[in-house]
Amino acid sequence: MSTPTTFWRLAGMSYTQYVTRAATALRNGLKEPAKTQAMRNEALSYNSATWAGGKAGSKKPVQVLSEAGL
């Protein structure tokens, strides 16, 4: 894999992570009460489980984007 040229790749982020972080920065620039309403659009929560050989592993809760895909 050749050296990345885009700044987010150099920082170790994927494009999706970069885009969502930019969206968070935009939402933070809003004034109240629009800010709290927009922040609600960011909330995520689910349980992720890795399977191996037909058996499920333990469920890991994911609350923020950085925890996803670990």
């Binding site: 990345p4 040229t5 885009t6 790749r9 994927s14 494009y15 999706t16 992570q17 885009v19 969502t20 969206a23 659009n41 960011e42 909330a43 995520l44 929560s45 689910y46 349980n47 992720s48 489980a49 890795t50 399977w51 050989g53 037909g54 058996k55 499920a56 469920k59 994911v62 984007l65 996803a68 895909g69 670990l70």
Partner: protein, 311 residues
């Protein structure tokens, strides 16, 4: 005189004996039918309130789906349109490449009609046909109901599951789910196939599958040849675009699936309320018959008792 007394005794006790024999034989007594009617009435109240809750949630989901539509349109130009899974026998999956990652989108909660079983059936059919063509495929399941159904049919093909997803979904959720796909190795597959339900209206939903392939950077099938890329790192930009396309498509399919789930739940709960109403009517007739039989029994006893006193 003795004969008459014994006949009267028998005629007094016979109706009560018959009622006891009926209960012993397994016919429901009046009390049991009454309890059944009460519990069916409670169930009817619950299902009709669930239907109203689903109708209210459907409105929100429809709005979110409308907002998500632009996230889907542009991928059609690059990857082809979604394919309608109307008749499973006619779908061949021949256009799929050697390695495919299948992503079925199902719900976490039940009591929602046939949404999840249609998806499970389609995925099972797809895996069978893909393997028959000598190609490979694996599955990453979104939704608890899909997990429980598909883990019985092909547990060895499942790589990851994402369950107990907090509703409503948003783009962050889609970004997290595509990160899960990447962690499951989506970049090593030749294509990602998303299988989902599509909302048409409050009574109708269809199943679709959408294939997303990474775009070729060079060679024959090179995409976007008409464009010049600045800076000249087309492979990197195409890699980012593929990531964004996957996230965008997951976002749209998730919204579509959520709206379809709510509409299906609404229909299912309405049918359940209707059936409960019909059951209540039938049971009420039975209850009245049992009640009248009891009253007749009591009357017979009183009259035979009175006639015994006279005689």
């Amino acid at each position: 005189m003795a004969l008459r007394a014994s006949v009267q005794r028998v005629s007094r006790t016979l109706p009560r004996l018959m009622a006891q024999a009926g209960a012993a034989r397994g016919m429901a007594t009046e009390k049991q039918i009454f309890n059944q009617i009460q519990s069916t009435k409670n169930i009817k109240k619950i299902t009709s309130s669930m239907k109203m809750v689903s109708a209210a949630k459907l409105k929100g989901d429809e709005t979110r789906l409308e907002l998500a539509k632009p996230f889907n349109e542009w991928t059609n130009a690059l990857c082809g349109k979604p394919v309608h899974l109307d008749d499973l026998e006619n779908i061949t999956y021949e256009e799929l490449p050697q390695k495919t990652l299948i992503v079925p989108i199902t719900s976490d909660k039940g009591l929602c009609g046939g949404v999840n079983s249609f998806i499970s059936r389609s995925v099972r059919d797809a895996i069978g046909k893909i393997n028959a063509q000598g190609k490979e495929c694996d599955v990453v399941i979104i939704g608890d109901k899909g997990r429980s159904q598909m883990s019985r049919s092909f547990p060895e093909k499942i790589l990851r599951t994402a369950t107990d997803i907090q509703a409503p979904g948003n783009f962050n959720l889609a970004a997290a789910l595509s990160a899960e796909l990447t962690a499951a190795g989506a970049m090593n597959y030749d294509a990602v196939m998303i299988v989902y339900n599509s909302y048409v209206n409050a009574a109708v939903y269809h199943q679709y599958y959408k294939v997303i392939k990474p775009m070729a950077v060079e060679g024959e099938g090179e995409s976007m040849v008409e464009y010049e890329f600045e800076p000249d790192v087309k492979s990197e930009i195409m890699g980012d675009l593929y990531e964004y396309m996957l996230t965008s498509q997951i976002y749209y399919c998730f919204m579509d699936g959520a709206a379809a789930e709510q509409s299906s739940r609404m229909t299912a709960m309405e049918n359940a309320s209707k059936n409960a109403g019909e059951m209540i009517d039938t049971l009420t007739l039975q209850y009245n018959r049992a009640r009248q039989a009891r009253i007749t029994t009591e009357l017979i006893e009183i009259i035979s008792g009175a006639s015994a006193l006279e005689g």
